[in-house]
């Protein structure tokens, strides 16, 4: 299947004298984490299917600096940001899509003050507009028939940037039942990974945040917990394991759900 994927880099495109419509910012998790790579591929399959002319930076991509900034190290954040802006501007990038809400938030909101001005969208927004424009047909098939799906809002997509509907609109296209957790949308509970927590042990407490969130999800008895962030995906997958629910609940990114419903 992967042989069919077309993933040109900016360097390759530029060498061929081509200009992409949009840059796909893969992010560190999407590039290196084995689970997140599958999400990356699902996004690529959708882009390929819809014949979106895109490119990735490949080895020229670097961390946006988000975890450094949330951890309080503004120096490292700004060094990363300014290096990335140099690369992006050299390729005259105008529009960026990313599968990571942290990259999305940082580039959209925090790069402009450092001189980087781009239109940045999250993959759920892009896929939703592809569906709306009729470029992507989601038949639903029987894949999700009778399944219950609940969407876990990523903090930096939802509360951080008020994107609540795009992922839900996509999920409604599936032949499944969309159920909401008690704490959803603006009231959504964090998965526990934000603010650089992904990279450290939690402080002393009586429970892990991802376990609490998994318990909230279990209350609505879903077959699938849909995510829109590779870090949420990791945390919720761990939470489901912790609760011995691997047999009953799958944790899947909305891009993967759509790719599979569209038979990609």
């Amino acid at each position: 299947m992967s042989n069919l994927m077309k993933v040109p880099t900016m360097a390759e495109m530029t060498a061929n004298g081509e200009v992409p419509e949009i840059l796909f910012w893969v992010g560190c998790s999407g590039s290196f984490d084995d689970r997140a790579k599958k999400i990356t591929k699902a996004i690529v399959k959708i882009l390929n299917k819809c014949e979106v002319k895109f490119a990735v930076l490949g080895a020229e991509e670097s961390c946006t600096g988000d975890p450094a900034k949330r951890a309080g190290n503004e120096f490292v954040f700004q060094m990363q940001a300014m290096q990335n802006i140099e690369v992006l501007d050299a390729y005259e990038i105008k529009k960026i899509v990313t599968g990571c809400p942290h990259c999305f938030n940082t580039m959209k909101n925090e790069y402009p003050e450092l001189g980087g001005n781009y239109e940045v969208i999250h993959h759920t927004q892009l896929i939703q507009s592809l569906i709306e424009e009729g470029k992507l047909k989601v038949e639903g098939g029987d894949t999700f028939k009778g399944k219950k799906i609940t969407f876990h809002d990523p903090c930096y997509l939802g509360r951080g940037n008020n994107v609540y509907e795009a992922p839900r609109e996509m999920l409604r296209k599936l032949d499944a039942e969309l159920v909401e957790m008690k704490n959803c949308k603006a009231k959504g509970l964090c998965c526990g990974a934000g603010g650089a927590q992904m990279f450290k042990e939690a402080e002393k407490g009586d429970k892990e945040v991802n376990v609490l969130r998994t318990e909230e999800a279990m209350e609505v008895k879903p077959n699938i917990i849909a995510t829109g962030c590779p870090f949420c995906n990791t945390m919720m997958t761990d939470g489901v394991k912790n609760k011995d629910q691997e047999g009953n609940i799958q944790v899947i990114d909305v891009a993967e759900l759509i790719a599979s419903a569209a038979d990609l």
């Binding site: 590039s31 991509e61 120096f75 990279f199 939690a202 407490g205």
Partner: protein, 446 residues
């Protein structure tokens, strides 16, 4: 005549003392660093109207929202009656506006009375809720001692205020029916107030004229005394939110909540580092380096912005932030409400110290360590649930972020794993130990 003089003195002292203490708070808030919130006036007015005046965010929890609304509307409307009380007090008249306003006057007082009854019930329920129901957010560590007393005192004062209103109006109704009231007789049988025309006769019906006048005067003087007590209690209490909610929402952060502030001081240095033509040994330009060097991030209250400090005084300790905080909900030490209370308490302490001992005074204490611990700061997931939950747009997260910045950039105090993550970013451009060359490996992997 004597009563007019007593009243005038009371008025002056009451407002004067309040103005003095409110001014101290203003001075404390202005100790904060500058942040520009002078833009988008239209948008700001809209936010203030919706959030403060319209109580929009309160309605995420409908039951307390309705109870709170009863108190809030009663409080605002009662200020109209207060105007008459002040006019009566200064003129020596009784119910000065009644003859000129006629039916509208009766309607206004009746409206106030109905709202007061609702407020009385709401206050009672709030007291019961605070003290009888075991609601977790009212019984957390930071709520022990003064904060608990403060919350109850306010509610009790409100009950007393309302009781005095009904003593005053109820006794006056009985007096009026007997033709003994000091209010001008308009040829009717009753003052016609919605509640007290029934409550008055029921409670004070059998009393003598002198007793009735006494009850009426106790109600009148008691009410105005309580009003001034209440007003002057505000600057020492969490209840100051009834005033500060308005400026605080007006000066809200209008950016997307996900955006953390940019540090311009760092920007200058980073640009210098990245500029191949920069001369690191160059003399500073004229005027440069003369400004006081600010520390990176926040160690103490004066390192925070004035908006952070306004936030701290606006907080009424409702605890919605904390009850939505993922760290707090999983038993960690962090409580966003405590961050706000600590900031206010430290600011009060520091402000008082500076006023007493001069502007260079250092008491050797700081917000960090003496009030807020590193453990609390590192428990935050920066999820913005606290910011979203606050009914008056307080932002605890920006204080947490600024204090992390101080820890990391000034004291190099960073949890070991995060230090590793940051050096990975510096060395390989990713928070994990992967080579940038391998970024595209996924393309060819099955």
């Amino acid at each position: 005549m004597i009563s007019i003089i007593i009243f005038a003195v009371l008025l002056l002292v009451g407002f004067g003392f309040f103005a003095m203490n409110a001014n101290k708070i203003r001075a404390n808030i202005l100790m904060g660093r500058d942040v520009d919130r002078s833009d988008n006036k239209g948008e700001r007015l809209k936010v203030m109207t919706l959030i403060a005046l319209g109580q929009k965010k309160m309605f995420k929890r409908p039951i307390p929202a309705i109870l709170h609304l009863c108190l809030y509307v009663a409080f605002v409307i009662t200020q109209i009656e207060l105007i008459e009380i002040i006019a009566d007090g200064l003129s020596g008249e009784h119910r000065l506006f009644r003859s000129s306003l006629g039916g509208f006057y009766t309607f206004m007082i009746s409206f106030i009375e109905v709202l007061s009854v609702l407020a009385f019930v709401a206050t009672f329920l709030f007291l019961a809720r605070r003290n009888l129901l075991k609601i977790p957010r009212f019984n957390m560590k930071e709520m022990k001692g003064w904060p608990k007393v403060d919350g109850n005192l306010i509610l009790v004062m409100e009950l007393i205020l309302i009781t005095f209103i009904f003593m005053m109006n109820g006794a006056d109704e009985v007096l009026y029916a007997q033709g003994l009231s000091h209010a001008e007789n308009l040829g009717d049988q009753s003052l016609g107030f919605a509640i007290s025309q029934y409550v008055g006769p029921a409670l004070f019906g059998g009393m003598s004229e002198s007793s009735l006048i006494m009850v009426e005067r106790i109600g009148w003087w008691g009410h105005i005394l309580m009003v001034f007590t209440f007003l002057n209690y505000l600057p020492f209490s969490k209840h100051f939110h009834i005033i500060l909610a308005f400026p605080n929402t007006y000066f809200s952060n209008l950016n997307p909540q996900g955006k953390a502030t940019n540090m311009e001081a760092v920007m200058k240095e980073v640009k210098l580092m990245m500029d191949p033509d920069a001369d690191p040994y160059a003399m500073p330009e004229e005027g440069e380096g003369e400004a006081e060097v600010q520390r990176f991030g926040a160690k103490d209250v004066e390192d925070l912005s004035w908006k952070n400090l306004l936030d701290a005084y606006t907080c009424t300790e409702c605890g919605r932030c904390t009850s939505n905080c993922p760290a707090n909900r999983t038993g960690k030490l962090l409580s966003p409400r405590k961050i706000m209370m600590d900031t206010r308490d430290r600011l009060e302490e520091k402000g008082a110290g500076l006023r007493k001992n001069g502007k260079d005074y250092d008491d050797g204490k700081s917000l960090l360590n003496d009030y807020i611990t590193e453990e609390e700061l590192w428990a935050c997931t920066s999820c913005n649930a606290c910011v979203e939950a606050c009914p008056v747009n307080i932002d605890p997260l920006s204080i947490i972020t600024d204090m992390r910045r101080y820890l990391v950039m000034e004291e190099s105090k960073v949890p070991t794993e995060l230090a590793g993550m940051i050096s990975n970013i510096e060395n390989n451009g990713a928070p994990w130990q992967f080579s940038p060359e391998d970024r595209l490996n996924w393309r060819d992997e099955e």
